[in-house]
């Protein structure tokens, strides 16, 4: 066994190799690394790869708007006084000077009119809160529609759902703090919602308000919840959400070179750090622009809260709009037992329904994996059309949400569109039941049609838009095969199998082990998969190509002629070839 020794040093004469003098940055980095030991961790993670797609950046909007919320929120705490102590307003807003109000309201007015930049910060904070929750929702929709919630990411879905719930509560506690007429009306409504709960309602209300509404405790309590409790939990959950993202690695769209085992994309440094960092400034900028240009919650017009007053257009912020809408369309059902009134008209729409909807949201990944029986890891995303039933379920839920949302703005819609508020209400009472069903059916069939379209494209080629006239005078459109990368992408999905429950008895007539819900599960699995178009097999594709080749032979005389259909698909160079020929 011979060893090539030509590369081995044969002398130690001359000058010894010395390392170059490190640069300044290197010195600092080394100093830090020797003490913190982050080098190894960072070496790995700074080059972490993220796939590139616009829809993967929606969660980032939520993250960055949360940062904007933290920054602007800290500013607001410096001037805001969380107290219901009664003072006479003596600030610079004339129409309220001399009016008795709580210190909370007076300090909000001071922030708006007397603190430099205060109104901008208030409005930025409020707009960023609206964007925070809205971006969580569109992020949730992206994750659901692409199947990114499947194993191993179910727990991250649960964390995300909790973030949405907590963000909503955080928003409610936040817009209640100014103690203006609108927020006071909101707290009064919340008090009523709590009291609608049988047995415990009144106790909970007295516990929260420290006695009968409004008392003097609610604002300081909401303040603690708003600046300490919920933000703390939000921060912890956001950290957990992102750590899990790093641990699971990001999902990606299928395509050539992308598998369940790899992630194709750009590294954190320098590409993603720049993109994400830049996106922070964009989110900050959009919040600042909205805060500077668009008025939000003009508390000075509402005036201080006073239980004898109310204003038209008293709505919660948009994310609480859908339960408010359910409340608006609910018939006034009440029952009386032994001198106790049970307000179903409040309890069902505002306590039961949000709880039910949130539970459904939380359970979606688990319901699906139970129905499909799919317990494998998934890192490749699915197009919404390739999971027709799942897509249809979410569209049905969105339709429900949207209709409830419309109901929540029924008075504004009535005056702006010159409609009757009663008729809007009647319409939505029916539509809230019928609409989601129609939406489900249409979406499901729509997705299946799109699947068929994909199959057509694979087997018969894409439509070139070139109309050929045969010798007989007949017209036909030329189809050309899709290129290989696209064919790969279209076929890169799994075949689905309908889960069927086993026989009731085994071969020996002994009752087989069977789950109680197996029948239901089988039916749901049929609904989920049975009508879907399965991906084209290799054999089908080859047969189709063979057929296409035959057709090409028939049309061979056209090959090389202008308008042979290859002008657009790169089959051969078309430089200097005029589509219309040389006339």
């Amino acid at each position: 066994m011979s060893v090539d020794t030509s590369k081995v040093a044969d002398t130690n004469a001359g000058t010894a190799a010395t390392p170059k003098k490190p640069g300044k940055a290197g010195v600092v980095a080394n100093w830090a690394d020797e003490r913190l030991g982050l080098g190894t961790l960072m070496k790995k993670n700074l080059r972490k790869v993220f796939p590139d797609h616009w829809s993967f950046m929606l969660g980032e909007i939520a993250l960055w708007s949360f940062v904007v919320l933290l920054l602007s929120g800290v500013f607001l705490t410096l001037w805001y006084t969380p107290s219901m102590g009664e003072v006479e307003y003596q600030g610079s807003y004339n129409p309220l000077r001399g009016v008795e109000m709580s210190e909370a309201m007076a300090s909000t007015l001071r922030l708006s009119f007397d603190v430099r930049g205060g109104l901008l910060m208030r409005q930025m904070h409020h707009w960023a809160a609206m964007l925070f929750i809205a971006s969580m929702m569109i992020h949730l929709l992206r994750v659901y529609f692409t199947g990114a919630f499947r194993k191993p990411r179910e727990l991250n879905w649960v964390i995300g759902s909790l973030l949405l719930l907590l963000g909503t509560l955080e928003g409610f506690t936040g817009y209640s703090l100014p103690d203006d007429l609108l927020s006071g009306t909101g707290i009064r409504a919340a008090d009523g919602f709590m009291k609608s709960m049988p047995v415990v309602g009144t106790y909970m209300s007295f516990f929260l308000f420290g006695g009968e509404f409004p008392g003097e405790a609610i604002i300081p309590r909401l303040y603690t919840v708003h600046v300490l409790l919920i933000p703390g939990i939000l921060l912890a959950l956001i950290a957990a959400h992102m750590l899990l993202l790093v641990y699971h690695k990001h999902t990606q769209w299928p395509g050539p070179g992308r598998t369940e085992e790899n992630v194709v994309g750009f590294p954190m440094l320098p590409v993603y750090a720049a993109k994400a960092g830049g996106f922070f400034f964009i989110v900050f900028g959009v919040s600042a622009l909205m805060g500077g240009l668009l008025s939000i919650n003009p508390v000075w017009k509402f005036g201080p809260y006073d239980p004898t007053k109310v204003t038209a257009g008293s709505q919660p912020d948009w994310y609480m709009g859908w339960p408010d809408g359910l409340l608006r369309i609910m018939p006034g059902w009440e029952s009386h037992f032994w001198g106790v009134t049970l307000s179903w008209n409040v309890f069902i729409p505002i306590i039961v329904m949000p709880g039910l909807m949130f539970t459904i949201l939380l359970m979606l990944p688990f319901i699906e994996s139970w129905v499909t029986g799919d317990k494998r890891d998934h890192h490749l995303l699915q197009r919404p059309r390739n999971a027709p039933t799942r897509t249809a379920v979410m569209v049905a839920l969105m339709t429900f949400y949207g209709l409830a949302w419309i109901a929540g703005g029924n008075d504004i819609i009535a005056i702006k569109l010159h409609l009757s508020i009663n008729q809007i209400t009647y319409f939505i009472r029916a539509a809230i039941f019928v609409g989601p069903v129609i939406a489900f059916l249409i979406t499901r069939r729509w997705c299946i049609s799109l699947q068929r379209h994909d199959e057509q494209k694979l087997l018969h080629g894409y439509e070139t838009g070139i109309i050929m006239r045969s010798a007989e005078g007949g017209y036909s459109e030329r189809h050309l095969p899709v290129n290989e990368a696209e064919a790969y992408t279209l076929t890169a999905r799994e075949r689905e199998e309908v889960w069927t429950p086993g026989d009731r008895t085994d071969a020996n007539g002994v009752p087989a082990k069977r789950g109680r819900l197996d029948g239901l599960r089988g039916k749901l699995s049929t609904l989920m998969y049975a009508d879907n178009v399965q991906p084209v097999t290799k054999e089908e594709l080859e047969a189709a190509h063979h057929h296409a080749d035959h057709e090409h032979e028939l049309q061979a005389s056209l090959e090389g002629q202008p308008a042979d259909g290859h002008q657009f698909n790169g089959h051969h160079a078309v430089d200097g070839e005029d589509l219309r020929g040389d006339h």
Binding site: D52, H53, W54, F56, M57, L58, E60, I61, N94, P95, L96, R97, G98, V99, S112, L119, Q123, W127, L131, A134, I138, L181, F266, F279, I282, V283, V286, M290, L293, L294, S295, I296, N297, P298, K301, F302, G303, D306, T308, K309, V310, T311, A312, G313, S314, Q315, P316, D317, W318, G321, G408, G409, N410, D411, I412, I415, H418, S420, I421, Q423
Partner: protein, 292 residues
């Protein structure tokens, strides 16, 4: 004091005279009449021109209003027994001036909501019609400008008036007209209108007469000064700048939510698409690669 007693005593001597009762009656009547002439509202002065105005108003009324309100303003009933056009006896000149001056009357069709249209009559005709309606029965008169103007008040008093007006407005008006006076919905297609463009005179008349679904705020309910203060606050709402920027229609959280989604999320998703589309080049551009 002694002089007064002596005078009283001198008059008192005649108190049992035969003509004393008649004289006292005459004195009482003259005093009442005289005081009335001094303190009574202005229109009582010119009864002759009033009569001419009422006659002119009646002519207009017969042409334009009597179809629904009856030839003598007594109202018209439908076959079902409901009011087609209500009786105008006692609604007062203020009501007529409001309905005609804001373009609500003449009505194009009955319904839940009286539509506001371009004003049909000119000022003189409205005055004549109002005078005619006023002649049908006692009712609130058209307010004078001094009733709703802040003329003659010091700056501090004006400020106080606006503050007082803001609290009255928030207590009595916002429930329907919304916190910024932009209006709100009423049952079955009705609407409380936007009042920011309404003249002070018409706001005063509306409070006084309660058109449509609106409550009547009589002078016992809201004193004339309080009405003036409400008007001062509405003018303040109209004139003060939008401190927070574009007001989004002043409709509250619904329009704010719409802007958050359309402008905010719409814009940010647009930026996300833009960022994802501008990425590092992973391959050399073919034309440059071929040359190299």
């Amino acid at each position: 004091m002694r002089l007064l007693n002596r005078t009283a005593g001198r008059i008192s001597r005649h108190r049992r005279g035969r003509l004393a009762g008649v004289v006292m009656l005459m004195v009482g009547l003259v005093l009442t009449g005289g005081l009335y002439t001094v303190f009574a509202p202005a229109q009582a002065d010119s009864s002759e021109s009033d009569a001419a105005l009422v006659a002119e108003g009646r002519e207009l009324f017969l042409v334009s209003c009597s179809f629904c309100h009856g030839k003598n303003g007594e109202g018209v009933l439908t076959e079902g027994g409901t009011q087609y056009g209500p009786s105008l006896a006692g609604v007062g000149a203020a009501s007529a001036d409001f309905q005609l001056g804001t373009g609500r009357m003449p009505l194009t069709r009955p319904g839940q909501q009286v539509a506001v249209k371009p004003v049909v009559f000119d000022d003189d005709e409205i005055e004549a019609l109002s005078a005619y309606v006023a002649s049908l029965g006692p009712g609130p008169a058209v307010p004078d400008e001094k009733d709703y103007s802040l003329e003659g008040l010091s700056a501090a008093e004006r400020e106080e008036a606006v503050t007082r007006g803001s609290q009255i407005f928030l207590t009595n008006c916002t429930a329907c007209h919304n916190f910024s006076g932009n209006g709100g919905a009423m049952p079955r297609g009705g609407a409380a209108p936007n009042i920011l463009g309404t003249t002070p005179e018409h706001i005063y008349e509306a409070m006084l007469t309660g058109p449509g679904n609106m409550d009547t705020f009589s002078n016992g309910n809201l004193s004339p000064e309080e009405k003036r203060d409400v008007i001062a606050y509405v003018s303040q709402l109209r004139e003060q700048p939008e401190y927070g920027g574009f007001g989004l229609g002043g409709l509250g959280p619904v329009s704010e939510g719409m802007f958050a989604w359309l402008v905010g999320i719409g814009g940010l998703v647009g930026f996300a698409v833009w960022i994802a589309a501008h990425t590092t080049r992973s391959t050399k551009q073919p034309s440059k690669g071929a040359d190299a």
